[in-house]
Each structure stands twice: as structure tokens, then as C-alpha cells.
């Protein structure tokens, strides 16, 4: 499972990409957040601020959405382009 981070979230985590090889216990996007948050600061506060969006395989999703081993999950702040 590939996990991407963008923009202010990427900078705060100082990380643009993670790979989970073992996804035991992970069935939703929320489970991905929980696994990352276990690392403590800054992961827990950055990912659980209530404004972070999630996409699965490049489509907008919600934290309740199901995730699979070969999915590309991305977390990012609200978009501000245009």
C-alpha cells in the first residue's frame, strides 16, 4: 500500500511517501491514519486535525472508505489551486 502526502501536510510530516508492506488490521482509510498516528508527533496532530482530505487511487474518498493492499492512498489539505 502506497501512501502519499501533499503540500502543507507533506512539509509538516517531512515525508512525501510511505509504503505499508504489512497491512494486517487495515481495512479503511481511518485505519491508515490510526497506524500513522501511532508514531506520535507530528503524525498524530497533523493527520487528525479534521481538515485533512483523503483520496484512494486518485479519487476523493472518506475515512470510512475501504482500502486494499495495492491501493494508492493520499492525504492532503483542502485544495487551493486556480
Amino acid at each position: 500500500m502506497k501512501i502519499l502526502f501533499f503540500a502543507s501536510l507533506r512539509e509538516r510530516l517531512q515525508c512525501d511517501q510511505e509504503t505499508f508492506n504489512d497491512i494486517t488490521g487495515i481495512s479503511t482509510a481511518q485505519d491508515v491514519v490510526d497506524r500513522l498516528s501511532e508514531r506520535g508527533a507530528p503524525w498524530d496532530t497533523a493527520l487528525e486535525n479534521g481538515k485533512i482530505l483523503v483520496s484512494i487511487n486518485q479519487e476523493m474518498a472518506s475515512l470510512n472508505s475501504a482500502v486494499n493492499a495495492d491501493d494508492e492512498i493520499a492525504f492532503f489539505p483542502p485544495v487551493t489551486g486556480g
Binding site: F6, A74, P78, T80, G81
Partner: protein, 149 residues
């Protein structure tokens, strides 16, 4: 056609591409967004634009497909620049051609409104001494939602 690029674009070239071999086009509505000075940030020197490659193109194509379903339009062109931009630089271009003007105006504004809330781009304001990610604007959500009425 969708382009995500660092390079600048030329609006007349895009217009000419719409016109070539399309004698049934009578109207082209274009929107161009520029890097602008904010009321409280007169020290702004430019912007940095980041995007999510792959998802950006998919999100824009979905918006364009919706516009084609809603209005009798001919062609749509979207160009969005990424990377570092200076004051007054062109950031985004949305052009829509159609037989009659009302469809081109509506579809162009619709695409811009959804691009603002659905396409994964992020802007960072640069000054001589700092760089700050731009916060989302609630007004953008409201403008996109009015198309659902």
C-alpha cells in the same frame, strides 16, 4: 485537452486552436487566473504551485465531462501551471468554445468553480522572508455548490 505544466501559455494560440477547421464555433469564453497581490500581503513576491500528478488530470477530466453533459459546448481547454510563479504571472487558463455564447460562459465558469474545489493543486505564497500555504476559502465551496440547484 488538459495540460499541467511549468511553462507559460499564449491565449491567442489556444483561441486559434479552437478556430481551426471548426466553422460551427461562434463563441469562445476564456478565463485566466493571475498571481495577485493580496490586501494584507503587499510584500508578496510570487507563488509556488504544487499538485498531485495523475489525480489532477482525472479530477479535471471529470469536471470537463460534466460540463459537456450540461451544455452544448464544442471544445474545452484547461492549462494549469505548477512550480514557482511571479507576480501577475498567468496561473490557469480555461477556454470553452460553442456555437452560442451562453453555453461557453456557463461552462467556463462551472469548470473554474469546480477546479477551485476539486482539483488537487495547492498554492504557497512567497515573500522575501517567508512562505505560507494558502488556506481554503469557504466562498469557493459555496460557488461550486450553487451549480447543484
Amino acid at each position: 485537452m488538459i495540460s499541467i505544466q511549468e511553462a507559460d501559455f499564449n491565449v491567442q494560440d489556444e483561441m486559434d486552436a479552437f478556430r481551426t477547421d471548426c466553422p460551427n464555433i461562434g463563441a469562445i469564453c476564456c478565463f485566466t487566473g493571475l498571481v495577485r497581490e493580496f490586501g494584507d500581503r503587499s510584500d508578496l513576491t510570487g507563488m509556488f504551485l504544487e499538485h498531485y500528478p495523475g489525480m489532477t488530470e482525472k479530477a479535471l477530466q471529470s469536471i470537463i465531462d460534466q460540463a459537456h453533459e450540461r451544455w452544448p459546448i464544442n471544445q474545452v481547454r484547461v492549462i494549469h501551471r505548477v512550480g514557482e510563479l511571479k507576480m501577475s504571472d498567468q496561473i490557469v487558463f480555461v477556454g470553452v468554445s460553442s456555437a452560442h455564447r451562453e453555453a461557453s460562459f456557463s461552462a467556463c465558469e462551472f469548470i473554474m468553480d469546480y477546479l477551485k474545489v476539486d482539483a488537487p493543486f495547492w498554492k504557497k505564497e512567497l515573500t522575501s522572508s517567508s512562505s505560507d500555504w494558502v488556506e481554503e476559502k469557504g466562498t469557493d465551496q459555496k460557488r461550486a455548490e450553487r451549480w447543484k440547484k
